[in-house]
Symmetry: C2
Subunit: 140 residues, 2 copies
């Protein structure tokens, strides 16, 4: 659990309770949609407005505090910024899990983009499939 207040202030954003609670929920869950964030934080802040959540998501993505994870056929989820990693997206339950980004893959992709004269800024690897838990549930 990080120092959310410091994280926000570094970007010139005020450390409001709304924002800190949003970050805490997101970090705890890992990856959340905007609705899920609102549902979670409104429990603590009954006066929270969905508009505030939208505004803050945009601000925090623009400032690099959050990362958007676009997902096929669904709404984007958001996660705290961290070093490159791979997403395992379960097509059954919708859960997203992180896995360490692998050096072999990384170097291959850098070589590819370098030879293309493509100025690589960010990579996003999403693997879609059925997670262990959902496989077991189907079996039972």
């Amino acid at each position: 659990m990080r120092d959310y207040a410091a994280l926000l202030k570094e970007c010139g954003l005020k450390a409001t309770f709304q924002r800190m609670n949003m970050l805490e929920s997101i970090e705890k869950s890992g990856h959340m949609s905007i609705d899920a964030i609102y549902d979670e934080v409104v429990k603590i802040h009954p006066s929270l407005s969905l508009a505030t959540v939208y505004k803050n998501i945009i601000l925090m993505v623009d400032n690099g505090v959050l990362i958007e994870v676009p997902i096929e056929g669904k709404k984007s989820k958001y996660e705290l910024s961290k070093e490159d990693h791979i997403h395992l997206v379960c097509t059954e339950c919708g859960e997203v899990e992180d896995r360490p980004h692998m050096k072999e893959t990384d170097s291959v992709l850098h070589t590819l983009t370098h030879s293309e004269h493509f100025k690589l800024e960010k990579q996003q690897i999403n693997l879609y499939g059925v997670c262990r838990k959902c496989q077991m549930e189907v079996a039972s």
Copy 2:
């Protein structure tokens, strides 16, 4: 240029002019948003409805004729189904280019998911950055 009529009939979809023109536009362009598809096809079919485009996109994605390419901060684009490949997404002009999927990467990802007991269905590698053309324009 494929046989769009056959492609559609294989899925049990009727080969209408609207659908075939959509597929032709998408294949020609490579990757298109829904709006772009509508703008292109309505030139040929002035009576085309945006609702028809939406309905057909959903149908063709569900039937595996099209693939959705979700993109950070933007609306999804759609491409014809083809074997796995990498997307280079230009953050300046928004263009998406395909690159062959690399065997090294592929085997690493399969190893990873296998060891996780994650039943891999589909992989999606998006590399965001500035394409060659946009780099040159900034320079000039």
